[in-house]
């Protein structure tokens, strides 16, 4: 068996001595699947980038040896490295959607990645579970859902059939069925001789798929699920009632996204909205918040009907529904500190005076488990989990009745996810906040929500108590839990 990857005593650190990644030993032959694990910040992504020969800019100290197919990639001259990457390495990063040129159609994105080689768009799209219709090939990335964009990015990496495939968190944003398909696909590719490196928080996937695990962290371990917030929803008053909500892509109303969705939420309740990617979950969240323009239906807050567009709603109505959006990178304004981000809704809704602001901000940060010093930080100085905590604090600053969480834990590791969900659980019991949790993580929905609504192609296919909907008889598309 030839050695494809050979890493020995390899480490990368900044010139100030801050260690970015360390890997004592990693060898892989043709057709091996290696799992790279470790807690957030242990350098999984940096190691993958090192293997791709694409380290972050800036002065770095690199020690040890790293060879891919016998070549020292980090020492190759730029043009050789480019050719080497083009011919032998496929890389799908953590936020692959942002790597898709928004102006190119899917067909051209695939052709570009294939680099002149013959390929079948039908086959490659079927591999990643996308319908290979003419219509889809004509679309641009902006017309796909987040999960679909990820799969196009994956297809781009696969289409050239590289010898080494580097995948950074490939299952984030995929539902159970797609995850299973991805598993099979990776196994097939490995049998054909591709060496695959997975950086992953998804322990079940690692266990199922990989031949060997490389642990970069000091084995912090994934904690057991500690808290159970499966509080019954019964007894609360109805705080939100949505009837016959339909939504379209644009004003011409040709392409529908939602068809007559009904939804009930009781105070202190938690409703999970689950469904495959592209089923309209995010549109539902935006429609309830009043951000989606082309909708029809009725939304009632408590007893009173509410205007559909946010511009027509009064401050009191807007205050009561707060959205925490999906995109973990764009959820906070990069040019404002955490304190500045939090002070705006405090002043807007609660008329907090300038003198009282620091106290209120400290209080909010405390509620989400962050220290006071964080108010001086900028978003780029925070980790993914911390950013989501700040986003929750910002929503809380308005003192809402309903929090809509759009896949806010999908890019976090298991222990951080539990922490965040516990913060939300506390809010339910202490502050009487009702939650709408949009997720594709079925176990998470089972642990943390009382009722569930399953969306399929914009229609509610099942609704009711979570234990019944997601418990014994799961709908076929959700056949397998994605973490446990």
């Amino acid at each position: 068996m030839t050695t494809v990857l050979d890493v020995l005593d390899f480490s990368i650190s900044t010139v100030d001595g801050l260690s970015l990644t360390r890997c004592d030993r990693l060898t892989a032959g043709k057709g091996c699947i290696i799992g790279v694990v470790g807690p957030s910040g242990s350098g999984k992504t940096t190691l993958l980038r090192g293997i791709a020969g694409a380290l972050p800019n800036g002065p770095l100290t690199v020690r040890g040896s790293l060879a891919v197919l016998g070549k020292p990639v980090l020492a190759l001259p730029a043009n050789e490295l480019r050719q080497f990457r083009r011919e032998h390495v496929g890389f799908v990063g953590q936020d692959p959607a942002s790597r898709l040129n928004p102006r190119m159609r899917i067909r051209h994105l695939l052709a570009e990645a294939a680099g002149g080689k013959q390929f079948s768009a039908q086959l490659i799209l079927a591999d990643v579970g996308l319908p290979a219709t003419e219509e889809l090939l004509r679309r641009k990335p902006g017309q796909l859902s987040g999960g679909q964009q990820r799969r196009v990015a994956l297809a781009r990496a696969l289409v050239r059939r590289p010898d080494v495939l580097l995948l950074d968190e490939p299952t984030v944003g995929l539902d159970a069925a797609l995850r299973k398909r991805l598993c099979g696909l990776l196994r097939d590719r490995a049998e054909e001789g591709t060496t695959i490196l997975l950086a992953c928080h998804d322990m079940p996937l690692i266990e199922e798929l990989v031949d060997e695990v490389v642990d970069l962290g000091a084995s912090a371990g994934v904690p057991e699920v500690l808290t159970d917030h499966r509080a019954p929803d019964a007894g609360g008053d109805e705080v939100l009632r949505v009837d016959g909500l339909s939504a379209w892509v644009d004003s011409r109303r040709r392409t529908p996204i939602l068809h007559g969705v009904d939804l009930r939420l009781t105070s202190r309740g938690a409703l999970a909205v689950v469904g495959v990617s592209g089923s309209g979950k995010t549109t539902l969240a935006r429609a309830i918040t009043g951000l989606h323009k082309y909708i029809e239906g009725r939304i009632a807050l408590g007893e009173a009907l509410m205007p559909l567009r946010v511009q027509r709603r009064g401050p009191a109505q807007r205050r009561r529904i707060q959205l925490i959006p999906q995109d973990p990178l764009g959820t906070l304004n990069p040019s404002r500190t955490v304190g500045a981000t939090l002070s705006r809704p405090l002043r807007l809704y609660r008329k907090v005076s300038a003198r009282e602001l620091p106290i209120q901000i400290t209080g909010l940060l405390d509620t989400v488990g962050l220290a006071e010093e964080f108010s001086e930080r900028y978003p780029h100085e925070l980790s993914g989990g911390q950013r989501q905590r700040v986003a929750i604090a910002r929503a809380l600053a308005a003192d809402p009745d309903i929090l809509i969480c759009d896949e806010i834990t999908s890019s976090l590791d298991a222990s951080t996810t539990e922490d965040i969900m516990n913060v939300l659980g506390e809010l339910r019991s202490r502050r009487d906040v009702a939650l709408i949790v949009i997720t594709h993580d079925i176990p998470l929905a089972i642990r943390h929500t009382g009722t569930t609504l399953v969306l399929e192609e914009g229609r509610v296919v099942r609704a009711g108590a979570t234990s019944e909907v997601l418990g014994s008889s799961r709908p076929p598309s959700m056949a397998r839990p994605s973490s446990g």
Partner: protein, 267 residues
């Protein structure tokens, strides 16, 4: 000395010279002190111009108005473009309207626009030139700003802010414009060079500026006939304009933040 201060030195020197230059002028700008097109000699380091006036004195006096007018044009154009661009990104319907208007204005040749406005403007002076440059320069800058604002307007924090009922102007100034800093600084630098070009063209065409004002562009035009007799009468103001444009652009290049505070790593 770090990179920033090295990059800023030339522009500070040029600005100081242009603003304080008149104070150091050895002779009056309308006072004949030597023979027409006299070569450099004692007391006249750069020689004389077409009427025997001191080239050095006129050079020192002739930069201030150009600098002030160009800075004003660049700042106003970039400012309007930033606001309109952000509004267009947030309100697509309004944005479409602004864009079409910009398309039409872009079709107008700038030199022609300046002449039309300059000639029809009551009185003389630089005001008509500045107005023309702003009106005709903004559409280009708007296009750039709108394109840069579009992805920012689609991000999560803008969604949250609009869901919290922030007004459009608040979204523009709090959420969008601060995140366009790099683009806007680059744009400001480019618009400044463009403004220098427009203002000097206008002076050269004698729109707005009339003799005997000391003005670099006017000096080039007035003394063009005597280039062979005293080349400095034309070379000195030409070099001054070039140094001004290049040094300002260099400074903006240094000031523009590199993409350091982005959470996305590049691959």
């Amino acid at each position: 000395m770090n990179r920033v201060s090295v990059g800023l030195l030339p522009v500070l020197a040029v600005i100081l010279l242009a603003l304080l230059g008149p104070l150091f002028a050895p002779h009056g700008i309308t006072e004949p002190v030597t023979a027409p097109y006299a070569l450099p000699g004692p007391g006249v380091p750069l020689g004389g111009d077409q009427l025997g006036r001191d080239v050095l004195s006129r050079l020192l006096a002739g930069g201030r108005d150009l600098l002030v007018a160009s800075v004003a044009i660049a700042v106003v154009v970039t400012g309007i473009a930033a606001i309109l661009g952000a509004v267009a990104a947030l309100r697509p319907t309004l944005g479409m309207l602004v864009e079409r208007t910009a398309d039409i204005l872009i079709l107008l040749p700038v030199a022609l626009g300046i002449m039309v406005i300059g000639v029809s403007w009551p009185g003389s002076g630089r005001i008509p030139v500045v107005v023309a440059a702003i009106v005709l320069g903004t559409p280009f800058a708007f296009r750039v700003a709108a394109a840069a604002a579009a992805p920012v307007a689609a991000s999560g924090f803008v969604e949250v802010a609009s869901a919290q009922g922030e007004r459009t102007l608040s979204l523009v100034f709090r959420e969008i414009v601060p995140n366009l800093r790099a683009t806007l600084l680059t744009l400001l630098g480019l618009r400044f060079v463009e403004a220098v070009y427009v203002v000097t063209t206008a002076s050269f065409l004698e729109v707005g500026t009339q003799p005997p004002t000391a003005d670099w562009a006017l000096m080039i035009r007035e003394n063009a006939d005597g280039t062979l007799l005293n080349p400095w009468a034309v070379l000195a103001p030409s070099l001054a304009i070039a140094v001004l444009a290049v040094s300002v652009n260099l400074a903006f290049d240094v000031l523009t933040p590199k993409a350091r505070n982005r959470a996305v790593t590049q691959l």
